[in-house]
């Protein structure tokens, strides 16, 4: 039983470290797209570690914590996706390091095509 608690505590600690790195990543990344990337992945992983660690410490909570984890995993990518799509639609500038932007190119092609046919 004590071993389980120890493993659980270590997992909670690891989750906190992941979330801390996500925070540092938010400060270090050059544009909002990369910030959203880091925020989504690291926050999902960190929350997963913390919840599973808590489930090991208090096993009778497992069901509820697992449900929370499922909801976080389902909704976190969707909300971040909406944010990123909105940023792209609003024409938020990408960083200078950006190599390629296929979506912008396709949207411009579509616009040119529409203008040409009308």
């Amino acid at each position: 039983m004590e071993y389980l608690e120890l493993i659980g505590a270590i997992m909670v600690l690891l989750g906190a470290v992941v979330l801390l790195l996500a925070g540092i990543g938010l400060l270090r990344m050059p544009d909002s797209y990369n910030r959203i990337q880091v925020g989504t992945k690291a926050s999902t992983g960190g929350v997963a570690l913390i919840l599973l660690g808590m489930a090991l410490i208090i096993p009778s909570w497992f069901g509820k914590l697992f449900t929370i984890l499922i909801f976080v995993m389902l909704t976190n990518p969707i909300s971040s996706h909406v944010l990123m799509r909105a940023a792209h639609k609003a024409g938020h500038p990408m960083t200078d390091k950006t190599v390629v932007d296929a979506l912008k190119k396709d949207e411009e092609d579509q616009k040119n095509k529409d203008n040409g046919t009308v």
Binding site: G25, K41, K64, H81, H88, K97, V100, L103
Partner: protein, 166 residues
């Protein structure tokens, strides 16, 4: 009865959640849960057609379990990858948005594919148009070769999802 498969899948999912919340093997509690679950299915069963593509076969079930394992491994890899990038003083990123083609048709399969790609190393769905996914990639590789990114990003998930959804 139409939409029987959707109702069955909905029933299984709702009952699973009820069991997880109550965390008990008491049959009486299960029977209490049956009443709200059946009411929800009676109201929403006909319109909830998002599960219509699910294959309710043993093969689909086994591949679902395999998918969960595969996805967990991808999530762990993605977290390590992101952490290493963040603490690296040089900040090694080459971001860009690329196009990836998908062969999946079922809406649920596409939702799961998009969510999975978002949570795996360095990739993030920006938009879906018809059969193309627009993926923001933190470290773009192999430009000029439109096939290779599809292989790297989507193929692993797609091959499993094809076995679960029609």
């Amino acid at each position: 009865m139409k939409n029987l498969k959707s109702k069955l899948v909905l029933f299984i999912i709702l009952m699973l959640f009820w069991l997880l919340w109550n965390n008990t093997w008491d049959v009486e509690i299960w029977l209490y849960g049956l009443v709200p679950v059946l009411i929800v299915i009676a109201i929403f069963g006909n319109t909830a057609n998002i599960f219509r593509g699910v294959k309710l076969t043993p093969k689909g079930f086994v591949y679902s379990l395999y998918y969960i394992l595969y996805f967990t491994w991808a999530l762990i890899k993605s977290n390590i990858d992101v952490m290493l990038r963040v603490i690296n003083p040089k900040l090694p990123i080459r971001p860009g948005i690329i196009k990836v083609k998908t062969e999946l048709k079922s809406p649920m399969a596409r939702l799961i594919l998009a969510n999975s790609i978002t949570l795996t190393p360095g990739t993030f769905i920006v938009d879906i148009k018809e059969e193309y996914l627009y993926v923001h990639w933190i470290d773009v590789c192999c430009e000029g070769d439109p096939e290779k990114p599809t292989k790297l990003i989507a193929e692993g998930f797609e091959n499993i999802l094809k076995n679960i959804y029609e």
